[in-house]
């Protein structure tokens, strides 16, 4: 597939936004400014960027505990995301969600989810609602390879298949579920073979390669939009960091980590763009500059924003009637 220069620039920017957001959040976390935990999306930037690059603005997504990348790629603002990570009143969720549960319904982000496989049922249900309403919206549902062993995955994927729902299941196969390797958790080399059992198409792609992800996602999304039902896209992207910040990864062979880092998807992609004369070094630098400004602004915004009023803890449970 040949992509135009703008598409490449968008991908590069999207991936870099995620990388720089995560690096900056990790710094703020280490400095004690961010409560809770951070599961960084570093190394998986190509997945969300490639998939969201193939979605239309009205389409919907669900994310995971490792969800900052999903939100950014779908178009959410860095400043309000960072403020949410800080627990500030100006955050997307007014400080009620935090890193694992950011959402922006107006942007089509039905929420990240702290329960492994927790978004699969609701993503599938949103696709069902869209189908009933006769609109052409597609839902992209992100989850990790570890989530494939939850019962919710099985029930929802089967339901999507029998009802031909417009949903694309994007498996982010980073090879690990905390400390347990996927090799030991699933007795398959190619995870996309699981799709066969549900009677839906499944493909596996290099999850470090944004173009490969885009191409596979585009085919799956178009198929869903034509009303032909769900698909599964498995994106293999070895985890570059620990499960969460502070994880020493004692369970993992060092060369496995080194190998992942050597293949850094952003480094690979930028080298490719320059070598193929798609974007010049100066053009990449200009994009980098924009991203740096956005990140600096996001941190400033989060630092300066107020915490919510404590009494707000009791609000937003039910829709107030009348």
């Amino acid at each position: 597939m040949t992509l135009d220069k703008n598409k490449h620039a968008d991908f590069y920017k999207s991936m870099l936004r995620i990388r720089r957001f995560e690096e900056t959040a990790i710094e703020a976390f280490s400095a004690g400014k961010i409560p809770g935990f951070i599961h960084s999306y570093i190394g998986e930037e190509a997945i969300a960027s490639g998939v969201c690059g193939a979605l239309e603005p009205g389409d919907l997504i669900t994310g995971t505990h490792r969800g900052h990348g999903h939100c950014l790629a779908k178009g959410m603002r860095m400043d309000r995301m960072m403020a949410e990570l800080y627990g500030k009143a100006t955050g997307y969720n007014k400080g009620k969600g935090g890193s694992m549960h950011i959402s922006d319904f107006s942007c089509g982000v039905l929420g990240c989810n702290g329960i492994v496989a927790g978004g699969i049922g609701l993503a599938t249900g949103a696709a069902w609602g869209n189908q009933l309403q006769g609109n052409s919206r597609v839902v992209a549902c992100f989850f990790g390879d570890g989530a494939m062993n939850r019962g919710s995955f099985h029930e929802a994927v089967n339901m999507a298949s029998i009802w031909s729902l417009p949903v694309v299941y994007v498996v982010e196969a980073n090879g690990w579920g905390i400390s347990f390797s996927t090799r030991n958790a699933i007795n398959l080399v190619d995870l996309s073979e699981r799709a066969k059992a549900y009677g839906i198409p499944g493909v596996s792609v290099d999850g470090y390669d944004v173009m490969a992800v885009y191409e596979a996602a585009k085919a799956a999304i178009e198929r869903a939009r034509r009303g032909e039902g769900p698909s599964m896209v498995v994106c293999n992207a070895p985890r570059m960091r620990g499960h969460e910040e502070g994880d020493p990864q004692t369970y993992r062979p060092k060369d496995d980590i080194d190998k992942a880092k050597k293949n850094d998807p952003i480094k690979r992609y930028s080298e490719f763009l320059v070598a193929q004369s798609i974007l010049s070094k100066d053009e990449l630098k200009a994009i980098k500059q924009q991203v740096e400004e956005e990140v600096a602004q996001a941190i400033k915004f989060a630092d300066e924003s107020p915490y919510p009023n404590p009494e707000e803890a009791l609000q937003d449970l039910f829709v107030e009637e009348k």
Binding site: L60, G91, Y92, N93, K94, G95, K96, G97, H101, S103, D104, F105, S106, L110, G111, N113, G114, I115, G118, I120, G121, L122, A123, T124, G125, A126, A127, W128, G129, N130, L132, Q133, V139, G151, S152, E155, A156, N158, M159, I162, Q315, D316, L317, F318, V319, E321
Partner: protein, 325 residues
């Protein structure tokens, strides 16, 4: 006025709301072909089609999860979970998704969905088909809990549940579907949440009871009347929100209270209501509040065993005599 069964009342509520609002859809196991395990949704698929009345595979987690997603994009799903014991198979969706998503989002979304399910103590269902799960759900912030005793209440409250912009769980009772009949007007009506109903007026003793225990409380009241004890029976009808005002008003009149439920004794609805009475009207009580509930064991199969452990009319009578002594 005409009399219809509890099952028929629920069927009418669903039919009327599906007619009234195109966004109302219903899904569950066997609900189309045979009208559900208890025949409650009979005829709906013929009338509204298999898109809006959707048979699902045996997938409780997905039934609730998909309802949530459909609600988030503007539909009004009514999910049927055949027995309330099967809530165990979709508890994750209820505990961590349906009740949490709106709050966690800072109020960005609305979740207008209903989960209908059947309690079923008293029909030799043994431990896995004799559910009473209202306290389990009541403990989770973010979902309204409705539990009607009569056909009239079931119809009016289900219509309100379907129109509510929040998640609602609606506990029916398998013993009531065809075992309880009552007057239901032909004309349309709804019943607001959080308004208890005085099922019997009295002055000596208040019995707070809901679901099938209302019938047992009324039976006990008749027996006690023969001894000159004049019993008031109050049915809260919804546990979230809970109308304590009506209960407290009655306590101030009678000064003696029994709280009755089919649930296990420990950490149940009785405990919650008792606490709220003590909190609001301690000085009004002439005797300790009595609790009539079911023994803290999984429900046994054999009829004499089940009868022994469950809350019965006799237990209410016994508690009343103790209170009046």
């Amino acid at each position: 006025m005409r009399e219809i069964t509890y099952a028929q009342a629920i069927n009418e509520a669903l039919r009327e709301e599906m007619k009234r609002d195109q966004r109302v859809i219903t899904l569950g196991e066997d609900i189309g072909g045979i009208g559900g395990n208890f025949g409650v949704t009979k005829g709906l698929q013929e009338e509204f089609g298999s898109q809006r009345v959707r048979d699902t595979p045996i997938s409780e987690d997905a039934i609730v999860g998909l309802s949530l997603g459909a609600a988030l994009v503007g539909m009004r799903p009514v999910a049927e979970i055949m027995f309330s014991t099967f809530l165990g198979c979709c508890m994750e969706e209820i505990v961590n998704q349906v009740t949490a998503i709106r709050y966690m989002s800072g109020g960005q979304c609305t979740i207008p969905m209903v989960i209908r399910t059947a309690n079923s103590l008293g029909r030799s269902g043994a431990a896995q088909h004799s559910g009473r799960a209202e306290a389990l759900i009541m403990h989770i912030p973010g979902i309204k809990v409705v539990i009607p005793a009569t056909p009239y209440d079931a119809k009016g409250l289900l219509k309100t549940a379907i129109r509510d912009p929040n998640p609602v769980i609606f506990f029916e009772h398998a013993m009531a579907y065809y075992g309880v009949k009552g007057e239901v007007p032909e004309e349309e009506y709804t019943i607001p949440f959080g308004v208890a109903d005085v099922k019997r007026q009295g002055k000596d003793l208040t019995i707070v009871a809901y679901s099938l225990m209302v019938r047992k409380a009324l039976e006990a009241a008749e027996i006690l009347a023969k001894d000159g004890i004049n019993v008031e029976v109050i049915d809260p009808r919804t546990l979230v929100p809970l109308d304590m005002d009506t209960i407290i008003k009655s306590v101030k009149k009678t000064h003696r209270v029994i709280v009755a439920s089919e649930e296990c004794e420990t950490a149940g609805v009785c405990a919650e209501i008792s606490y709220r009475i003590v909190e609001a009207a301690f000085d009004e009580l002439d005797a300790p509040i009595q609790r009539v509930a079911t023994a803290d064991v999984p429900v046994p199969f054999s009829p004499p065993l089940e009868k022994y452990m469950m809350a019965k009319t006799e237990d209410i009578v016994k508690a009343a005599k103790k209170l009046m002594a």
